[in-house]
């Protein structure tokens, strides 16, 4: 299993029956592949649909039905079209049960930076600030390190996405839960030891008792 699949599978276990979930572009979008249809989960694409379905077969794509990345999608039975005002009303109003986003940095306060690298990458925040501010639960799905540097840091050096503490971080090495006291290590990736995680992390981790391996359906 590659790192991305591992992360996606673990995040999928956070999703409960009947939830409304928004998956970010890239790694987070893989999560949908591991959520059983029987759960009756609805996925929101913030560009305007609740009840996002799989990619349509070749030749059956419709230019009026796309996800937030501009890719063709389908709609499940019971889907609803929403305009951008309703879409972000649902997000900011706490009606979105969970958002899964990528991250550039998360720090000991649980603050997320994921939208800007000053001087390098200024794409705009899109919906990220609203999602992190408003969603009932915010899960960050990301590689533990990038180019050898820990993405989990004492204090974000990149611009924050919101002042809200995220609820969970899932990486290829660990599951970490930010709390008022700091970052609590909850799970290890299969075969990964505590020392490995500590060495790969540029922040203090709170370790309480035995840390179990991630369960992956």
């Amino acid at each position: 299993m590659d790192a991305k699949e591992l992360i996606a599978r673990r995040v999928a276990r956070e999703i409960k029956s009947g939830m409304l979930v928004n998956l970010g572009i890239g790694l987070p979008s893989l999560v949908a592949n591991f959520v059983p249809q029987s759960l009756g989960v609805f996925f929101q694409a913030e560009n305007g649909v609740i009840g996002l379905g799989a990619r349509p077969p070749e030749g059956m794509q419709d230019p009026h039905l796309t996800d937030a990345g501009g890719g063709f999608v389908s709609a499940v039975p019971g889907a609803a079209s929403i305009d951008s005002a309703m879409s972000f009303g649902l997000i900011r109003g706490g009606h979105l049960d969970m958002t899964v986003l990528g991250g550039l940095q998360v720090d000991e306060k649980g603050h997320l930076a994921n939208w800007k690298v000053p001087g390098k990458m200024v794409p705009g925040m899109g919906g990220a600030m609203d999602l992190v501010t408003g969603a009932a639960r915010v899960v960050v799905a990301m590689q533990h390190s990038a180019k050898g540097a820990s993405k989990i840091v004492k204090r974000c050096t990149l611009p924050l996405t919101a002042q809200r503490r995220v609820d969970l971080i899932v990486t290829d090495l660990a599951v970490i839960e930010p709390g008022p006291e700091g970052l609590i290590l909850r799970e290890r990736a299969p075969g990964i030891g505590l020392d490995h995680i500590r060495a790969a992390t540029d922040a203090n981790l709170i370790v309480m008792g035995d840390i179990p391996e991630m369960a992956l359906d």
Binding site: V49, I50, G89
Partner: protein
């Protein structure tokens, strides 16, 4: 998927002292079967937030007549002499709010906004005691958001995902109120199989609705 409740079962969920957003305009679009069940049960000390208190024998007017309401937030009570009489007798406290302000306050509550900046009411007694905010040289009243314990919604069609569609002037406050109740109970005129309401016809996405009332008969 949401199971459908009998009106009695829905009425039982609403305790004494609850705050209720109730859809309808002069009872058009109000959840009448649910209101009847509430009257049967005789819940007390309710706060009713609605455009109006209809008239005796109709919609929210039935709750007024039954002495179940201690507080009303509405834009108009003039067509229900019982509300007026109970207000004058001190049995009901009334907050009267301009109609456009009322609907925006509920929308703000439901969509996670901090309030409404409106020119309506500036220079009138509606301004009394409120903060006035100047934006780009114009003065606006800051009106606070409204949420409630329950939103009681009258709809035309529902499916078992909870998606709602409305007919003509029976929309009124219903789509906005469905955003702002901690628990949302919808009373549709009919329930159709999932997939029958086209995504573009859904005005209230099912993710907002907690309970449906069973079909009449």
């Amino acid at each position: 998927m949401k199971g459908a409740l009998k009106p009695e079962a829905a009425a039982e969920m609403i305790p004494d002292g609850a705050s209720l957003l109730i859809g309808g305009f002069m009872a058009v679009g109000s959840p009448e079967r649910l209101i009847d069940a509430m009257v049967e049960r005789g819940t007390k000390d309710l706060t009713v937030i609605a455009n109006d208190t209809a008239m005796p024998g109709k919609g929210t007017g039935k709750l007024i007549s039954a002495g179940m309401v201690s507080r009303v937030i509405a834009s108009h009570i003039g067509l229900n002499p019982e509300t007026q009489a109970k207000m004058i007798a001190g049995e009901i406290s009334c907050e009267l709010v301009p109609q456009g302000t009322l609907v925006e306050r509920i929308r703000a509550g439901g969509m996670g906004l901090g309030g409404v900046l409106t020119p309506t009411g500036i220079g009138t007694e509606v301004e009394d005691g409120k903060q006035v905010i100047e934006v780009e040289g114009n003065r606006y009243l800051l009106e606070t958001p409204i949420k409630a314990d329950f939103a009681l919604i009258g709809a035309w069609q529902a499916d078992y995902v909870g998606n709602l569609a409305y007919l003509l002037t029976a929309h009124n406050f219903n789509p906005v109120m469905a955003l702002a109740g901690k628990v949302v109970i919808a009373e549709p005129e009919s329930i159709v199989p999932v997939g029958v309401i086209a995504p573009d016809a859904v005005k209230t996405p099912g993710v907002l609705v907690d309970h449906l009332l069973i079909r009449p008969n």
